[in-house]
C-alpha cells in the first residue's frame, strides 16, 4: 500500500475535563447535522445510532457555554435540527485549526512517507 501525505492528518481534541468537547468525530457529526438538517440522518450517515449521536451532542453542549445544535421540532431531536450560530463558529474554528495545521506541516508531511515501507 503506497503511503501518501494524505495518510497523515492532524486530529485535534479540545479537552473539557474528562470529556472531549470537540474532536474529529464530533466535528464530522456537526457537519452532517448542518448538511442533513437532522440528528438522526447525521447519525445514519456516520453509521452510528441516534442515541450515540444524541449523546455526543449532549457532551458538546455541556462543554460549551452556548448550545451548538438547535432542534427544530420533534421533541428529543428526531425531527429537524440545525447548527446554532455558536455551533457554526465552533465548527469553523475547528476546521480552521486543521487547515492551518495542514498548511504549516505540508513539507514535513511529505518527508515522512518516504521513510515508510511501501
Amino acid at each position: 500500500m503506497k503511503s501518501t501525505p494524505s495518510k497523515i492528518q492532524p486530529r485535534f481534541r479540545v479537552i473539557c475535563g474528562r470529556n472531549i468537547a470537540i474532536g474529529p468525530g464530533k466535528a464530522e457529526l456537526l457537519e452532517h447535522v448542518q448538511s442533513a438538517g437532522s440528528i438522526s440522518e447525521a447519525a445514519r450517515r456516520m453509521g452510528m445510532s441516534y442515541m450515540r449521536a444524541w449523546k455526543l451532542v449532549k457532551t458538546m453542549e455541556r462543554c460549551f457555554t452556548k448550545p451548538l445544535v438547535k432542534v427544530a421540532r420533534g421533541g428529543a431531536g428526531h425531527g429537524g435540527a440545525e447548527l446554532t450560530e455558536n455551533g457554526r463558529q465552533v465548527l469553523e474554528l475547528y476546521r480552521k485549526m486543521e487547515t492551518e495545521s495542514l498548511k504549516a506541516t505540508a513539507g514535513t508531511r511529505r518527508r515522512i512517507p518516504r521513510l515508510l515501507a511501501t
Copy 2:
C-alpha cells in the same frame, strides 16, 4: 475546570495500511527508549507491559523501511536499546510536525477555549 489553549493538541497519526506507523503513543515510546536506553524501562515509564511496548516497536518496524530501535544486547530486548539514526529521524520529523502545527494554530487555539464553559 478552566480551559486553556494547552488543552488543544494536534495528534498526528501516520497511517500504514491498517496500522498506525507512528502516533502520539509510539512517539512517546521512542522518546522514552531514547532517554531510558531500554525498552523495558521505557514501558515501565509509560505504565505499559514490556510485551505491549515490544509489539508497538514491531509495528513501527513493519511500517518503516529501516529499523527504528536497535537492541544492544539481551536477546528479545530486555537488555539495552537505543534509537537508530532512522528512529531519531522519524521522531524528529514527528515532533517537527507537531511544533509547526502548534505554531500555525496558536491564534485559533486561543479562540476556542473562550467558547467553552469554565
